[in-house]
Protein backbone atom coordinates (compact mmCIF):
# COMPACT_ATOMS: atom_id res chain seq x y z
CA UNK A 1 0.00 0.00 0.00
CA UNK A 2 1.33 3.40 -0.86
CA UNK A 3 0.50 7.07 -0.90
CA UNK A 4 0.59 9.46 -3.79
CA UNK A 5 1.77 13.03 -3.56
CA UNK A 6 4.39 14.62 -1.33
CA UNK A 7 4.55 14.14 2.42
CA UNK A 8 4.59 17.10 4.81
CA UNK A 9 5.29 16.82 8.52
CA UNK A 10 3.28 18.35 11.36
CA UNK A 11 3.65 22.15 11.17
CA UNK A 12 5.40 22.16 7.81
CA UNK A 13 4.30 24.97 5.48
CA UNK A 14 2.90 23.80 2.14
CA UNK A 15 2.19 27.24 0.65
CA UNK A 16 3.10 30.60 2.15
CA UNK A 17 1.01 33.76 1.98
CA UNK A 18 2.50 36.24 -0.49
CA UNK A 19 4.37 33.64 -2.55
CA UNK A 20 3.71 33.32 -6.27
CA UNK A 21 1.72 30.19 -7.12
CA UNK A 22 1.28 28.14 -10.28
CA UNK A 23 -0.54 25.09 -8.98
CA UNK A 24 -3.28 23.89 -6.65
CA UNK A 25 -3.19 21.04 -4.17
CA UNK A 26 -5.45 18.12 -3.24
CA UNK A 27 -5.08 16.52 0.20
CA UNK A 28 -4.61 12.75 -0.08
CA UNK A 29 -4.60 12.08 3.66
CA UNK A 30 -3.98 14.01 6.87
CA UNK A 31 -5.16 17.49 7.81
CA UNK A 32 -4.07 21.06 7.07
CA UNK A 33 -5.05 24.53 8.20
CA UNK A 34 -5.25 27.72 6.15
CA UNK A 35 -4.25 30.85 8.08
CA UNK A 36 -4.19 34.50 7.04
CA UNK A 37 -1.51 36.77 8.48
CA UNK A 38 -2.46 40.39 9.26
CA UNK A 39 -0.30 42.83 11.26
CA UNK A 40 1.81 40.05 12.68
CA UNK A 41 -1.18 38.02 13.85
CA UNK A 42 -2.55 34.79 12.39
CA UNK A 43 -6.22 34.08 11.83
CA UNK A 44 -7.34 30.56 11.04
CA UNK A 45 -9.59 30.57 7.97
CA UNK A 46 -10.42 26.87 7.83
CA UNK A 47 -9.22 23.34 8.43
CA UNK A 48 -9.18 20.88 5.55
CA UNK A 49 -8.94 17.10 5.23
CA UNK A 50 -8.78 14.29 2.67
CA UNK A 51 -10.04 15.14 -0.83
CA UNK A 52 -10.26 18.89 -0.01
CA UNK A 53 -8.25 21.20 -2.22
CA UNK A 54 -6.57 24.56 -1.78
CA UNK A 55 -4.49 27.04 -3.76
CA UNK A 56 -7.03 27.00 -6.60
CA UNK A 57 -7.09 30.80 -6.99
CA UNK A 58 -3.55 30.65 -8.40
CA UNK A 59 -4.91 28.71 -11.37
CA UNK A 60 -7.24 31.53 -12.37
CA UNK A 61 -5.38 34.67 -11.25
CA UNK A 62 -1.81 35.89 -11.43
CA UNK A 63 -1.95 37.08 -7.81
CA UNK A 64 0.12 35.81 -4.90
CA UNK A 65 -1.10 33.25 -2.35
CA UNK A 66 -3.73 34.78 -0.05
CA UNK A 67 -3.10 32.45 2.88
CA UNK A 68 -0.49 30.19 4.42
CA UNK A 69 -1.37 26.50 4.49
CA UNK A 70 0.44 24.12 6.81
CA UNK A 71 0.11 20.50 7.83
CA UNK A 72 -1.49 19.70 11.20
CA UNK A 73 -0.18 16.11 11.13
CA UNK A 74 1.80 13.97 8.67
CA UNK A 75 -0.06 14.76 5.46
CA UNK A 76 0.19 13.71 1.81
CA UNK A 77 -0.66 16.40 -0.70
CA UNK A 78 -0.95 16.01 -4.48
CA UNK A 79 0.05 18.92 -6.71
CA UNK A 80 -2.17 19.81 -9.69
CA UNK A 81 -0.23 21.66 -12.39
CA UNK A 82 -1.74 24.77 -13.92
CA UNK A 83 -0.87 23.43 -17.39
CA UNK A 84 -2.52 20.08 -16.76
CA UNK A 85 -5.58 21.67 -15.18
CA UNK A 86 -6.18 24.30 -17.85
CA UNK A 87 -5.43 21.79 -20.62
CA UNK A 88 -8.01 19.46 -19.08
CA UNK A 89 -10.61 22.23 -18.87
CA UNK A 90 -9.98 23.15 -22.50
CA UNK A 91 -10.88 19.58 -23.50
CA UNK A 92 -13.57 19.09 -20.86
CA UNK A 93 -15.00 22.22 -19.20
CA UNK A 94 -16.96 20.08 -16.70
CA UNK A 95 -13.62 19.30 -15.03
CA UNK A 96 -13.94 22.67 -13.32
CA UNK A 97 -17.40 21.90 -11.92
CA UNK A 98 -16.23 20.59 -8.54
CA UNK A 99 -13.90 23.55 -8.07
CA UNK A 100 -16.63 26.03 -8.95
CA UNK A 101 -18.97 24.21 -6.55
CA UNK A 102 -16.43 24.35 -3.70
CA UNK A 103 -15.59 28.00 -4.38
CA UNK A 104 -19.33 28.71 -4.27
CA UNK A 105 -19.55 27.01 -0.85
CA UNK A 106 -16.63 29.07 0.37
CA UNK A 107 -18.22 32.33 -0.83
CA UNK A 108 -21.44 31.32 0.96
CA UNK A 109 -19.44 30.60 4.11
CA UNK A 110 -17.61 33.93 3.88
CA UNK A 111 -20.92 35.76 3.30
CA UNK A 112 -22.36 34.18 6.46
CA UNK A 113 -19.25 35.12 8.43
CA UNK A 114 -19.31 38.69 7.10
CA UNK A 115 -22.98 39.06 8.02
CA UNK A 116 -22.29 37.73 11.51
CA UNK A 117 -19.33 40.09 11.86
CA UNK A 118 -21.48 43.09 10.79
CA UNK A 119 -24.20 42.03 13.19
CA UNK A 120 -21.71 41.73 16.08
CA UNK A 121 -20.19 45.15 15.20
CA UNK A 122 -23.58 46.84 15.28
CA UNK A 123 -24.48 45.23 18.62
CA UNK A 124 -21.23 46.44 20.13
Amino acid sequence: MANLGKQYQNGEVIVRQGDAGKCMFVIQNGEVEAVAERNGREFRLRKMGPNDFFGEMALFEHETRTATVRALCPTHVLTIDKKNFLGGIHEDPSLAFRIVQTMSHRIRDLTDRLAKYEEDSQQN
Binding site: M1, L4, P50, L78, T79, I80, N84, D92, S94, L95
Partner: protein, 476 residues
Protein backbone atom coordinates in the same frame (compact mmCIF):
# COMPACT_ATOMS: atom_id res chain seq x y z
CA UNK B 1 -22.81 5.34 -46.84
CA UNK B 2 -22.69 7.74 -43.92
CA UNK B 3 -20.81 6.68 -40.82
CA UNK B 4 -23.98 7.28 -38.81
CA UNK B 5 -25.83 4.69 -40.85
CA UNK B 6 -23.19 2.01 -40.60
CA UNK B 7 -24.02 0.68 -37.17
CA UNK B 8 -27.70 0.97 -38.00
CA UNK B 9 -27.22 -2.35 -39.72
CA UNK B 10 -25.56 -3.89 -36.71
CA UNK B 11 -27.36 -7.13 -35.98
CA UNK B 12 -30.66 -6.01 -37.42
CA UNK B 13 -32.95 -9.00 -37.35
CA UNK B 14 -36.22 -7.11 -37.54
CA UNK B 15 -37.03 -4.78 -40.45
CA UNK B 16 -36.22 -1.17 -39.60
CA UNK B 17 -39.27 0.92 -38.69
CA UNK B 18 -39.83 4.57 -38.11
CA UNK B 19 -38.32 5.30 -34.69
CA UNK B 20 -40.81 6.76 -32.29
CA UNK B 21 -39.02 7.13 -28.95
CA UNK B 22 -37.01 10.31 -28.43
CA UNK B 23 -33.27 9.92 -28.82
CA UNK B 24 -32.54 11.76 -25.61
CA UNK B 25 -32.41 10.44 -22.04
CA UNK B 26 -35.67 10.73 -20.13
CA UNK B 27 -36.66 9.91 -16.57
CA UNK B 28 -36.61 6.13 -16.36
CA UNK B 29 -34.29 5.64 -19.36
CA UNK B 30 -32.28 2.43 -19.15
CA UNK B 31 -28.60 2.22 -20.05
CA UNK B 32 -26.67 -1.04 -20.44
CA UNK B 33 -22.91 -0.78 -19.98
CA UNK B 34 -21.16 -3.91 -21.28
CA UNK B 35 -17.92 -4.35 -19.37
CA UNK B 36 -17.00 -2.91 -15.97
CA UNK B 37 -13.37 -2.09 -16.50
CA UNK B 38 -12.23 1.52 -16.02
CA UNK B 39 -14.11 2.78 -19.11
CA UNK B 40 -17.42 1.14 -18.14
CA UNK B 41 -17.22 2.09 -14.47
CA UNK B 42 -16.18 5.67 -15.17
CA UNK B 43 -18.93 6.09 -17.78
CA UNK B 44 -21.51 4.80 -15.26
CA UNK B 45 -20.15 7.09 -12.54
CA UNK B 46 -20.17 10.20 -14.72
CA UNK B 47 -23.47 9.56 -16.50
CA UNK B 48 -25.32 9.16 -13.17
CA UNK B 49 -23.54 12.20 -11.75
CA UNK B 50 -24.44 14.39 -14.72
CA UNK B 51 -27.99 13.04 -15.00
CA UNK B 52 -28.52 13.86 -11.30
CA UNK B 53 -27.25 17.39 -11.90
CA UNK B 54 -29.80 17.72 -14.72
CA UNK B 55 -32.60 16.29 -12.56
CA UNK B 56 -32.82 13.06 -14.57
CA UNK B 57 -33.40 9.64 -13.04
CA UNK B 58 -31.73 7.02 -15.25
CA UNK B 59 -31.06 3.34 -14.55
CA UNK B 60 -27.56 2.10 -15.34
CA UNK B 61 -26.86 -1.66 -15.47
CA UNK B 62 -23.28 -2.81 -15.82
CA UNK B 63 -22.79 -6.26 -17.33
CA UNK B 64 -19.61 -7.83 -16.00
CA UNK B 65 -19.14 -11.59 -15.48
CA UNK B 66 -16.04 -11.07 -13.29
CA UNK B 67 -15.99 -9.93 -9.68
CA UNK B 68 -12.41 -8.48 -9.52
CA UNK B 69 -11.97 -10.19 -6.17
CA UNK B 70 -10.47 -13.43 -7.54
CA UNK B 71 -6.72 -13.73 -7.80
CA UNK B 72 -5.13 -14.50 -11.18
CA UNK B 73 -6.65 -14.10 -14.66
CA UNK B 74 -10.27 -14.76 -13.53
CA UNK B 75 -10.39 -11.45 -11.69
CA UNK B 76 -8.04 -9.37 -13.79
CA UNK B 77 -8.28 -7.07 -16.80
CA UNK B 78 -4.78 -7.95 -18.04
CA UNK B 79 -2.91 -4.67 -18.13
CA UNK B 80 0.39 -3.27 -16.86
CA UNK B 81 -1.48 -1.20 -14.30
CA UNK B 82 -0.07 2.32 -14.49
CA UNK B 83 -2.27 5.33 -13.78
CA UNK B 84 -0.51 8.22 -15.50
CA UNK B 85 0.52 11.50 -13.92
CA UNK B 86 -2.06 13.45 -15.92
CA UNK B 87 -4.88 11.04 -15.03
CA UNK B 88 -4.00 11.03 -11.32
CA UNK B 89 -4.31 14.83 -11.39
CA UNK B 90 -7.56 14.84 -13.35
CA UNK B 91 -9.16 12.23 -11.09
CA UNK B 92 -8.09 14.21 -8.03
CA UNK B 93 -9.65 17.34 -9.57
CA UNK B 94 -12.86 15.34 -10.12
CA UNK B 95 -12.80 14.37 -6.44
CA UNK B 96 -11.79 10.76 -7.18
CA UNK B 97 -8.87 10.02 -4.90
CA UNK B 98 -6.95 6.77 -5.26
CA UNK B 99 -6.89 5.21 -1.77
CA UNK B 100 -3.72 3.82 -0.22
CA UNK B 101 -4.91 0.21 -0.59
CA UNK B 102 -5.42 0.72 -4.36
CA UNK B 103 -2.01 2.29 -5.00
CA UNK B 104 0.56 -0.52 -4.81
CA UNK B 105 3.42 1.91 -5.24
CA UNK B 106 3.81 5.59 -6.08
CA UNK B 107 6.32 5.97 -8.90
CA UNK B 108 8.72 8.89 -8.54
CA UNK B 109 11.31 8.19 -11.21
CA UNK B 110 12.03 6.27 -14.41
CA UNK B 111 15.27 4.37 -14.88
CA UNK B 112 16.23 4.00 -18.51
CA UNK B 113 18.34 0.93 -19.28
CA UNK B 114 20.34 0.75 -22.50
CA UNK B 115 23.35 -1.27 -23.59
CA UNK B 116 25.46 1.91 -23.31
CA UNK B 117 24.39 2.64 -19.73
CA UNK B 118 21.55 3.45 -17.33
CA UNK B 119 20.17 6.79 -16.23
CA UNK B 120 17.52 7.68 -13.67
CA UNK B 121 15.05 10.42 -14.60
CA UNK B 122 13.45 11.98 -11.54
CA UNK B 123 9.93 13.34 -11.53
CA UNK B 124 9.99 17.10 -12.24
CA UNK B 125 8.33 17.99 -8.88
CA UNK B 126 10.00 15.30 -6.74
CA UNK B 127 6.53 14.00 -5.96
CA UNK B 128 4.81 10.65 -6.45
CA UNK B 129 2.12 11.32 -9.03
CA UNK B 130 2.13 8.05 -10.97
CA UNK B 131 0.29 5.11 -9.43
CA UNK B 132 1.21 1.46 -9.94
CA UNK B 133 -1.98 -0.53 -9.38
CA UNK B 134 -3.32 -4.06 -9.74
CA UNK B 135 -6.08 -4.47 -12.31
CA UNK B 136 -7.18 -7.67 -10.59
CA UNK B 137 -6.90 -8.94 -7.07
CA UNK B 138 -3.29 -10.03 -7.34
CA UNK B 139 -1.33 -12.68 -9.26
CA UNK B 140 -2.40 -16.31 -9.55
CA UNK B 141 -1.65 -18.40 -6.42
CA UNK B 142 -0.64 -15.30 -4.49
CA UNK B 143 -1.45 -14.95 -0.82
CA UNK B 144 -4.66 -13.03 -0.11
CA UNK B 145 -3.74 -9.38 -0.33
CA UNK B 146 -4.84 -6.60 1.96
CA UNK B 147 -5.38 -4.45 -1.10
CA UNK B 148 -8.07 -3.45 -3.55
CA UNK B 149 -7.78 -3.63 -7.33
CA UNK B 150 -8.12 -0.44 -9.33
CA UNK B 151 -11.00 -1.91 -11.37
CA UNK B 152 -12.87 -3.02 -8.27
CA UNK B 153 -12.44 0.40 -6.69
CA UNK B 154 -13.91 2.15 -9.74
CA UNK B 155 -16.72 -0.41 -9.93
CA UNK B 156 -17.61 0.28 -6.30
CA UNK B 157 -17.59 4.02 -6.98
CA UNK B 158 -20.10 3.48 -9.80
CA UNK B 159 -22.22 1.26 -7.55
CA UNK B 160 -22.18 3.89 -4.80
CA UNK B 161 -23.50 6.38 -7.37
CA UNK B 162 -26.40 4.01 -8.09
CA UNK B 163 -25.29 1.72 -10.93
CA UNK B 164 -26.24 -1.94 -10.58
CA UNK B 165 -23.94 -4.79 -11.59
CA UNK B 166 -25.31 -7.74 -13.55
CA UNK B 167 -22.88 -10.67 -13.35
CA UNK B 168 -23.74 -12.12 -16.74
CA UNK B 169 -21.76 -12.67 -19.93
CA UNK B 170 -23.18 -10.68 -22.84
CA UNK B 171 -23.06 -12.64 -26.09
CA UNK B 172 -24.97 -10.37 -28.46
CA UNK B 173 -26.21 -6.82 -28.86
CA UNK B 174 -28.60 -5.83 -31.62
CA UNK B 175 -31.18 -3.27 -32.53
CA UNK B 176 -34.90 -3.99 -32.26
CA UNK B 177 -37.20 -1.22 -33.42
CA UNK B 178 -36.21 1.80 -31.33
CA UNK B 179 -34.42 -0.12 -28.60
CA UNK B 180 -31.17 -1.94 -28.22
CA UNK B 181 -31.47 -5.54 -27.10
CA UNK B 182 -28.80 -7.21 -24.95
CA UNK B 183 -28.58 -11.03 -24.91
CA UNK B 184 -26.59 -13.03 -22.38
CA UNK B 185 -25.11 -16.52 -22.41
CA UNK B 186 -27.79 -17.75 -19.98
CA UNK B 187 -30.63 -16.62 -22.33
CA UNK B 188 -31.26 -13.47 -20.23
CA UNK B 189 -32.42 -10.70 -22.56
CA UNK B 190 -33.41 -7.07 -21.96
CA UNK B 191 -34.14 -3.91 -23.96
CA UNK B 192 -32.30 -0.65 -23.32
CA UNK B 193 -32.43 2.94 -24.54
CA UNK B 194 -28.65 3.01 -24.88
CA UNK B 195 -25.90 0.41 -24.97
CA UNK B 196 -22.33 1.38 -24.09
CA UNK B 197 -19.67 -1.07 -25.24
CA UNK B 198 -16.70 -1.08 -22.87
CA UNK B 199 -15.54 -4.67 -23.20
CA UNK B 200 -11.99 -3.93 -24.30
CA UNK B 201 -10.47 -5.76 -27.26
CA UNK B 202 -10.07 -9.18 -25.70
CA UNK B 203 -13.82 -9.89 -25.75
CA UNK B 204 -15.59 -12.24 -28.17
CA UNK B 205 -18.49 -9.81 -28.31
CA UNK B 206 -16.52 -7.44 -30.55
CA UNK B 207 -15.87 -10.36 -32.92
CA UNK B 208 -19.59 -11.17 -32.97
CA UNK B 209 -20.51 -7.56 -33.72
CA UNK B 210 -17.97 -7.38 -36.54
CA UNK B 211 -19.29 -10.58 -38.11
CA UNK B 212 -22.84 -9.18 -38.17
CA UNK B 213 -22.06 -6.29 -40.50
CA UNK B 214 -19.35 -5.55 -43.00
CA UNK B 215 -19.44 -1.86 -42.12
CA UNK B 216 -18.24 -2.20 -38.54
CA UNK B 217 -14.56 -2.83 -37.94
CA UNK B 218 -13.46 -3.80 -34.47
CA UNK B 219 -10.22 -2.19 -33.23
CA UNK B 220 -6.92 -3.34 -34.71
CA UNK B 221 -4.97 -5.38 -32.16
CA UNK B 222 -1.54 -6.70 -31.34
CA UNK B 223 -0.38 -9.26 -28.81
CA UNK B 224 1.54 -8.15 -25.73
CA UNK B 225 3.06 -9.96 -22.78
CA UNK B 226 2.58 -9.23 -19.08
CA UNK B 227 3.93 -11.26 -16.18
CA UNK B 228 4.52 -10.93 -12.45
CA UNK B 229 7.62 -11.81 -10.44
CA UNK B 230 7.39 -12.41 -6.70
CA UNK B 231 10.41 -10.73 -5.05
CA UNK B 232 9.08 -9.39 -1.74
CA UNK B 233 8.83 -5.81 -0.57
CA UNK B 234 12.31 -5.63 0.94
CA UNK B 235 14.08 -6.85 -2.20
CA UNK B 236 11.95 -4.60 -4.41
CA UNK B 237 12.68 -1.58 -2.23
CA UNK B 238 16.42 -2.30 -2.36
CA UNK B 239 16.70 -3.20 -6.05
CA UNK B 240 13.91 -1.34 -7.86
CA UNK B 241 12.92 1.39 -5.38
CA UNK B 242 10.03 3.69 -6.34
CA UNK B 243 11.32 3.70 -9.93
CA UNK B 244 9.80 2.22 -13.06
CA UNK B 245 12.53 0.55 -15.10
CA UNK B 246 12.23 0.93 -18.87
CA UNK B 247 14.42 -0.64 -21.54
CA UNK B 248 15.63 0.68 -24.87
CA UNK B 249 17.16 -2.45 -26.37
CA UNK B 250 18.08 -3.37 -29.91
CA UNK B 251 15.47 -6.12 -30.20
CA UNK B 252 13.37 -6.08 -33.39
CA UNK B 253 9.59 -5.56 -32.93
CA UNK B 254 9.98 -4.56 -29.27
CA UNK B 255 8.56 -1.04 -28.89
CA UNK B 256 8.51 -0.71 -25.13
CA UNK B 257 9.48 -2.81 -22.13
CA UNK B 258 9.07 -1.91 -18.48
CA UNK B 259 9.43 -3.42 -15.03
CA UNK B 260 6.89 -1.90 -12.65
CA UNK B 261 7.39 -2.41 -8.89
CA UNK B 262 4.15 -3.13 -6.97
CA UNK B 263 3.95 -4.32 -3.38
CA UNK B 264 5.56 -7.79 -3.21
CA UNK B 265 5.59 -8.19 -7.00
CA UNK B 266 7.23 -6.66 -10.03
CA UNK B 267 5.18 -6.53 -13.23
CA UNK B 268 6.90 -6.92 -16.59
CA UNK B 269 5.14 -5.36 -19.55
CA UNK B 270 6.32 -5.95 -23.14
CA UNK B 271 4.69 -3.98 -25.93
CA UNK B 272 5.45 -4.27 -29.62
CA UNK B 273 4.47 -5.94 -32.82
CA UNK B 274 3.16 -9.39 -31.86
CA UNK B 275 5.36 -10.38 -28.95
CA UNK B 276 6.47 -14.01 -29.36
CA UNK B 277 8.73 -16.53 -27.60
CA UNK B 278 11.82 -15.61 -29.63
CA UNK B 279 11.48 -11.93 -28.74
CA UNK B 280 10.93 -12.76 -25.05
CA UNK B 281 13.97 -15.02 -24.97
CA UNK B 282 16.16 -12.25 -26.39
CA UNK B 283 14.73 -9.83 -23.86
CA UNK B 284 15.27 -12.09 -20.84
CA UNK B 285 18.79 -12.97 -21.98
CA UNK B 286 19.90 -9.36 -22.31
CA UNK B 287 22.29 -8.31 -19.53
CA UNK B 288 20.43 -5.00 -19.02
CA UNK B 289 17.36 -6.97 -17.92
CA UNK B 290 19.20 -9.61 -15.91
CA UNK B 291 21.16 -6.98 -14.00
CA UNK B 292 17.91 -5.51 -12.67
CA UNK B 293 17.20 -8.67 -10.67
CA UNK B 294 19.07 -9.83 -7.56
CA UNK B 295 22.00 -12.03 -8.53
CA UNK B 296 21.35 -11.39 -12.22
CA UNK B 297 18.81 -14.23 -12.27
CA UNK B 298 15.32 -13.90 -13.71
CA UNK B 299 12.92 -15.40 -11.15
CA UNK B 300 10.03 -17.72 -12.01
CA UNK B 301 6.89 -16.05 -13.28
CA UNK B 302 4.10 -16.03 -10.71
CA UNK B 303 1.45 -15.19 -13.28
CA UNK B 304 1.48 -14.26 -16.94
CA UNK B 305 -0.82 -13.42 -19.84
CA UNK B 306 -0.74 -12.42 -23.50
CA UNK B 307 -3.45 -9.76 -23.72
CA UNK B 308 -4.14 -7.95 -26.96
CA UNK B 309 -4.12 -4.17 -27.05
CA UNK B 310 -5.85 -1.69 -29.32
CA UNK B 311 -3.52 -0.23 -31.96
CA UNK B 312 -6.22 1.04 -34.33
CA UNK B 313 -9.59 2.53 -33.41
CA UNK B 314 -12.94 0.84 -34.08
CA UNK B 315 -14.81 2.27 -37.07
CA UNK B 316 -17.30 3.70 -36.51
CA UNK B 317 -17.19 4.06 -32.71
CA UNK B 318 -20.87 4.94 -32.42
CA UNK B 319 -24.32 4.44 -33.88
CA UNK B 320 -27.91 5.18 -32.88
CA UNK B 321 -28.21 4.28 -29.17
CA UNK B 322 -24.80 2.64 -29.26
CA UNK B 323 -21.33 3.90 -28.40
CA UNK B 324 -17.92 2.24 -28.01
CA UNK B 325 -15.63 3.62 -25.30
CA UNK B 326 -12.16 2.88 -23.94
CA UNK B 327 -10.21 0.15 -25.74
CA UNK B 328 -13.40 -0.88 -27.57
CA UNK B 329 -13.47 2.51 -29.28
CA UNK B 330 -10.39 4.69 -29.35
CA UNK B 331 -7.35 4.62 -27.10
CA UNK B 332 -3.82 5.96 -27.04
CA UNK B 333 -1.12 4.00 -28.82
CA UNK B 334 0.82 1.89 -26.28
CA UNK B 335 0.41 4.42 -23.42
CA UNK B 336 -2.12 5.68 -20.91
CA UNK B 337 -4.96 3.37 -21.92
CA UNK B 338 -6.67 4.07 -18.60
CA UNK B 339 -6.41 7.80 -19.28
CA UNK B 340 -8.04 7.30 -22.70
CA UNK B 341 -10.75 5.21 -21.02
CA UNK B 342 -11.46 8.15 -18.68
CA UNK B 343 -11.55 10.68 -21.53
CA UNK B 344 -13.80 8.62 -23.83
CA UNK B 345 -16.08 7.57 -20.94
CA UNK B 346 -16.62 11.14 -19.84
CA UNK B 347 -17.09 12.47 -23.38
CA UNK B 348 -19.69 9.76 -24.05
CA UNK B 349 -21.47 10.48 -20.74
CA UNK B 350 -21.61 14.22 -21.51
CA UNK B 351 -22.97 13.50 -24.99
CA UNK B 352 -25.82 11.25 -23.83
CA UNK B 353 -26.86 13.50 -20.92
CA UNK B 354 -26.57 16.93 -22.52
CA UNK B 355 -27.25 16.14 -26.20
CA UNK B 356 -28.78 12.73 -26.87
CA UNK B 357 -28.13 9.14 -27.89
CA UNK B 358 -28.46 9.36 -31.68
CA UNK B 359 -25.62 8.72 -34.08
CA UNK B 360 -25.76 12.42 -35.02
CA UNK B 361 -25.26 13.39 -31.36
CA UNK B 362 -22.25 11.10 -31.04
CA UNK B 363 -20.85 12.33 -34.35
CA UNK B 364 -21.08 15.95 -33.22
CA UNK B 365 -19.95 15.61 -29.60
CA UNK B 366 -18.10 12.30 -29.13
CA UNK B 367 -16.36 11.64 -32.43
CA UNK B 368 -14.11 14.76 -32.21
CA UNK B 369 -12.36 13.30 -29.14
CA UNK B 370 -11.87 9.95 -30.87
CA UNK B 371 -10.47 11.78 -33.89
CA UNK B 372 -8.10 13.78 -31.69
CA UNK B 373 -6.85 10.58 -30.05
CA UNK B 374 -6.43 8.87 -33.42
CA UNK B 375 -4.61 11.86 -34.92
CA UNK B 376 -2.29 11.99 -31.92
CA UNK B 377 -1.62 8.26 -32.37
CA UNK B 378 -0.39 8.99 -35.90
CA UNK B 379 2.18 11.30 -34.35
CA UNK B 380 2.85 8.58 -31.78
CA UNK B 381 3.82 6.24 -34.61
CA UNK B 382 6.34 8.84 -35.78
CA UNK B 383 7.72 9.18 -32.23
CA UNK B 384 8.01 5.41 -31.78
CA UNK B 385 9.57 5.26 -35.26
CA UNK B 386 12.34 7.56 -34.00
CA UNK B 387 12.58 5.33 -30.95
CA UNK B 388 13.16 2.33 -33.21
CA UNK B 389 15.95 4.20 -34.97
CA UNK B 390 17.56 4.96 -31.61
CA UNK B 391 17.20 1.28 -30.67
CA UNK B 392 19.27 0.37 -33.72
CA UNK B 393 21.93 3.05 -33.27
CA UNK B 394 24.49 2.79 -30.47
CA UNK B 395 25.78 6.20 -31.58
CA UNK B 396 22.37 7.77 -30.85
CA UNK B 397 21.96 5.93 -27.55
CA UNK B 398 25.26 7.31 -26.27
CA UNK B 399 24.20 10.85 -27.10
CA UNK B 400 20.81 10.44 -25.43
CA UNK B 401 22.37 8.88 -22.34
CA UNK B 402 24.85 11.74 -22.02
CA UNK B 403 22.29 14.49 -22.56
CA UNK B 404 19.84 12.98 -20.04
CA UNK B 405 22.50 12.32 -17.42
CA UNK B 406 23.87 15.87 -17.67
CA UNK B 407 20.39 17.32 -17.27
CA UNK B 408 19.72 15.16 -14.22
CA UNK B 409 23.05 16.15 -12.66
CA UNK B 410 22.42 19.88 -12.97
CA UNK B 411 19.23 21.06 -11.29
CA UNK B 412 19.28 24.52 -12.90
CA UNK B 413 19.61 23.15 -16.42
CA UNK B 414 16.55 22.97 -18.74
CA UNK B 415 15.50 19.33 -18.81
CA UNK B 416 14.62 19.02 -22.48
CA UNK B 417 15.58 15.39 -23.13
CA UNK B 418 14.48 14.30 -19.64
CA UNK B 419 11.08 15.93 -20.19
CA UNK B 420 10.64 14.27 -23.58
CA UNK B 421 11.58 10.85 -22.18
CA UNK B 422 9.48 11.36 -19.04
CA UNK B 423 6.35 12.20 -21.03
CA UNK B 424 7.02 9.42 -23.52
CA UNK B 425 7.47 6.78 -20.81
CA UNK B 426 4.71 8.00 -18.52
CA UNK B 427 2.19 8.83 -21.27
CA UNK B 428 1.49 12.10 -19.47
CA UNK B 429 1.52 14.31 -22.57
CA UNK B 430 0.09 13.92 -26.08
CA UNK B 431 2.54 12.52 -28.63
CA UNK B 432 2.12 15.68 -30.70
CA UNK B 433 3.32 17.75 -27.75
CA UNK B 434 6.30 15.43 -27.24
CA UNK B 435 7.18 15.55 -30.94
CA UNK B 436 6.96 19.34 -31.17
CA UNK B 437 9.31 19.71 -28.20
CA UNK B 438 11.92 17.66 -30.07
CA UNK B 439 11.88 20.28 -32.84
CA UNK B 440 12.93 23.10 -30.49
CA UNK B 441 16.27 24.54 -31.66
CA UNK B 442 17.74 24.31 -28.15
CA UNK B 443 16.78 20.62 -27.94
CA UNK B 444 18.24 19.88 -31.36
CA UNK B 445 21.42 21.87 -30.61
CA UNK B 446 21.95 20.11 -27.31
CA UNK B 447 21.25 16.71 -28.84
CA UNK B 448 23.72 17.36 -31.65
CA UNK B 449 26.42 18.41 -29.17
CA UNK B 450 25.80 15.40 -26.94
CA UNK B 451 25.85 13.02 -29.90
CA UNK B 452 29.30 14.32 -30.71
CA UNK B 453 30.57 14.51 -27.15
CA UNK B 454 29.05 11.18 -26.15
CA UNK B 455 30.85 9.37 -28.92
CA UNK B 456 34.27 10.95 -28.55
CA UNK B 457 36.83 9.08 -26.48
CA UNK B 458 36.84 10.13 -22.79
CA UNK B 459 39.23 12.99 -22.11
CA UNK B 460 38.67 14.78 -25.39
CA UNK B 461 35.84 16.89 -23.92
CA UNK B 462 36.75 19.58 -21.38
CA UNK B 463 34.88 21.56 -18.71
CA UNK B 464 33.24 18.74 -16.84
CA UNK B 465 31.13 17.50 -19.71
CA UNK B 466 33.20 14.42 -20.40
CA UNK B 467 31.61 10.98 -20.18
CA UNK B 468 33.86 10.02 -17.30
CA UNK B 469 32.54 12.86 -15.13
CA UNK B 470 28.84 12.01 -15.28
CA UNK B 471 27.68 10.84 -11.93
CA UNK B 472 24.06 9.72 -11.80
CA UNK B 473 24.26 7.09 -14.47
CA UNK B 474 26.15 3.91 -15.03
CA UNK B 475 27.90 3.23 -18.30
CA UNK B 476 28.29 -0.28 -19.60
Amino acid sequence: MKMAEKLQQLGERVPKRQQSLPKTLQDGSRIAVIGAGPAGSMFSYFVINMAEAMGLDVAVEMFEPRHFCHRGPAGCNHCGGIVSESLVQRLATEGIMLPDDVVQRGIESYTLHMDVGDVEIATPLMEKRIAAVYRGNGPRNSEPLDTCSFDRYLLELAQQKGATVVHRLVTDVHREDDHMCVHCADQYSQNYDLVVLATGVNSRLMETLESQTQEFQRPGRTKTFICEFLLGRKVIRETFGPSMHVFLLDIPRLEFAALIPKGDYVTLCLLGDDINDELMERFFNSPEVRNCFPGGTIPAQACHCYPRINIKAARPAYGDRLVFIGDSGATRLFKDGIGAAYRTAKAAAKTVVFHGVSAENFKAHYAPLCRAINNDNQMGKVVFGFGSLVQKSRFARRGILRMTANEQNQSDRPKRMSGVLWDLFSGSAPYTDVFLRTLHPAYLGSLFWNLLAGNLPAGMIRNGHGRSEERNHVEH
